[in-house]
Amino acid sequence: MFGIGLKKRAKQDLRDTPIPEGHHLLEVNDLKMYFHTQDGIVKAVNGVSYTLDRGETLGVVGESGSGKSVTSLTIMGLIDMPPGKVEGGDVLYRGKSLINMTEEEMESVRGNDIAMIFQDPMTSLNPVYTIGRQLSEGMRLHKGMGKKEALERSVELLRMVGIPNAEQRVKEYPHEFSGGMRQRVMIAMALACDPDILIADEPTTALDVTIQAQIIELMQEMQQKNGNAIIMITHDLGVVADIADKIMVMYAGSPVEFGTRDEIFYNPIHPYTWGLNRSIPEPAIDEKHPLTPIKGNPPSLVDLPKGCSFAPRCPYATDKCHNEVPPIYTTETGHYAKCHYCNDKDFVAKNAPATSRTKTAPIAEKKGADA
């Protein structure tokens, strides 16, 4: 019973094929994932595009329900279809479409070329099997390792992610590990087959603050060692500020702004990104630097606003915003935003938050703070 499903797969890992000319490691082109439910069509991912290369880290930032997780689960092919359906766009991994792959092809990509870490380490490990068995599984499946060999490698992996007494720990069960330790195990599991891309879906949300930093550092360290790309999904701008090369800000299923870390933090051009920036707590919040949340709630994904989906909450929204879907405005550097006015330098200069380098007039801050 325990050997079923672990038959050795043909040894042709996609990550050994070179990236074709003109392609990136991972390219997401205008991806649309809709869910057909009884209440209507939920447009969970509505036109997401980005590229990613080896060694890079992409931060995906957004509120709950903005489509960050669904985007990555779509890349992994882990969305149940139905109710989910890819309504358009494509995901290319080394020039090969993941969307058009058969389930069997996808199984050899999952956990092997692209691995994923989930939000809650407390529930992400099977309680009735030992850590060693769960770690070995992927290696036995993708690398055709024997039981013993895989277990030895598991011990190595545990040691690598900083779990002391690994020889002993590998025989223990998940409930004998703390939350932080379990997330380390999850990272070890994801890295077991030496993946090209590591997708981390809010890996630190369920952990306490002191552990958060350790886990982020560990992921960075592993990235430097292995050269893999990371997609870091989070609702915490602070997390991506440390590690991301590129950041995509998502709102209501679509990216509203995409750019390098510096562009997003110091030169943001979309009002939603401004709002997020103003919501980062500072060590000293006083009357001069109030913490300004974005008012209201994200729209229903079944019934999106007619115009810009952020318009109902945007303090600068005009009639045009409410009635017309904004186009994507791209700068020379590839920094893009989806707003009617982000092209307007005066508008940006006047309203961007204080942390922004584009900030010139201090009076405008008050206005922004009123938002």
């Binding site: 499903g5 992400s124 009735v128 499946l141 599991m189």
Partner: protein, 345 residues
């Protein structure tokens, strides 16, 4: 682990004493003198009556079993508490008293003859229940909302709602009477008894209908528990983790979901097995099955109280032991409750 088992066995004592005490008292407050029950319409001569009373420990006797007489030459009635102590004391020697009928045959001997039938029937029923229940529930969960799932849900609802004896009678009507008539007597199943030297069929054939009847309701429950458990487990985060590792849907179910889903199912089946060993009174009566259930039913209708008391005493012990075995088996399935491990203490 050993410590836990000892603790549980010690807990048996108050439960056991409580149950037997209640039954013993009930047996003795029921109107009617046992000796009159035994004698029926006949008039007993005084010496026989005294001997009978001595046999059933109703009066004080000396070491040789002779009745002790008081100064008036009358027998001395043994008080209830003393008789209870004697009963409990007898249990340690395997003495459950004597039947009021069957020529005062020892209860232990009667139960010893009947129990093998009950145990064999229970084993056949539990095998049917486990295989059909688990497989049906699994397919139902995996192919949720399919025609199969709807079929299983409807069938299990019907079975759960049906009284076992009525279901048994329907089976008898169909397999034993209807089929016999339709096929002109060339094919039918036995509807009564358990085979024997002059049996019409091979002994095994006699098990079919009673075992199906006994297993029917529990199979339905097993299928339902299995279905809901598997559905719940398949929604767990660790299933997604396993999928993200690249395991196929099938491998995820076999390697990650089934063991977790089986834990409550095995508990249910274990408890149910305990119940079946306690004697399926309804099923055994409907099918004239010579097990303890039928014997208990017969004893109740004929006011053969020692047999009722004896079989209930055995049932209490069997159920308690089975519960303990089920609890211990948890530990092998679920490491979180591995008992008495250094960490949980």
């Amino acid at each position: 682990m050993i410590k836990y088992i000892i603790k549980r066995v010690l807990q048996f004592i108050p439960v056991f004493l409580g149950v037997t005490l209640i039954l013993f008292v009930l047996q003795n407050v029921v109107p009617g003198d046992p000796i009159k029950l035994i004698a029926g319409e006949k008039k007993l001569d005084p010496q026989t009556e005294i001997n009978l009373r001595a046999t059933y420990h109703l009066i004080e006797t000396d070491e040789n079993g002779q009745a002790i007489l008081d100064e008036n030459g009358n027998t001395i009635e043994t008080p209830l508490w003393k008789r209870y102590l004697q009963y409990i004391g007898g249990l340690f020697h395997g003495d459950l008293g004597r039947s009021y009928q069957q020529n005062g045959k020892p209860v232990a001997e009667i139960l010893g003859e009947k129990y093998p039938y009950t145990i064999r029937l229970a084993i056949v029923a539990i095998i049917i229940e486990s295989i059909i229940g688990i497989v049906a529930g699994m397919i139902s969960a995996i192919k949720r909302y399919s025609a199969w799932d709807v079929g299983v849900t409807l069938t299990t609802s019907a079975l759960v709602a049906m009284p076992a004896f009525w279901f048994g009678m329907l089976q008898q009507l169909f397999w034993g009477v209807f089929l016999k008539n339709v096929t002109g007597g060339s094919f039918y199943l036995p509807i009564s008894g358990a085979g024997g030297p002059q049996a019409e069929f091979v002994d095994a054939v006699y098990y079919i209908l009673p075992a199906l009847t006994l297993a029917a309701v529990s199979t339905a429950y097993t299928a339902r528990i299995m279905r809901s458990q598997l559905l719940e487990v398949l929604n767990q985060d660790y299933i997604r983790t396993a999928r993200a590792k690249g395991l196929s849907r099938k491998a995820v179910i076999i390697r990650h979901a089934i063991k977790n889903a089986l834990i409550p199912v095995i508990t249910y089946i274990g408890m149910d097995f305990g119940g079946m060993l306690a004697g399926a009174i309804l099923t055994e009566t409907v099918f004239n099955w010579p097990g303890v259930g039928f014997e208990t039913y017969r004893a109740i209708t004929q006011r053969d109280w020692p047999i009722v008391l004896g079989s209930v005493t055995v049932i209490v012990i069997v159920v308690m032991v089975i519960n303990l075995v089920v609890d211990i088996s948890y530990a092998f399935l679920d490491p979180r409750i591995r008992l008495g491990s250094s960490k949980s203490e």
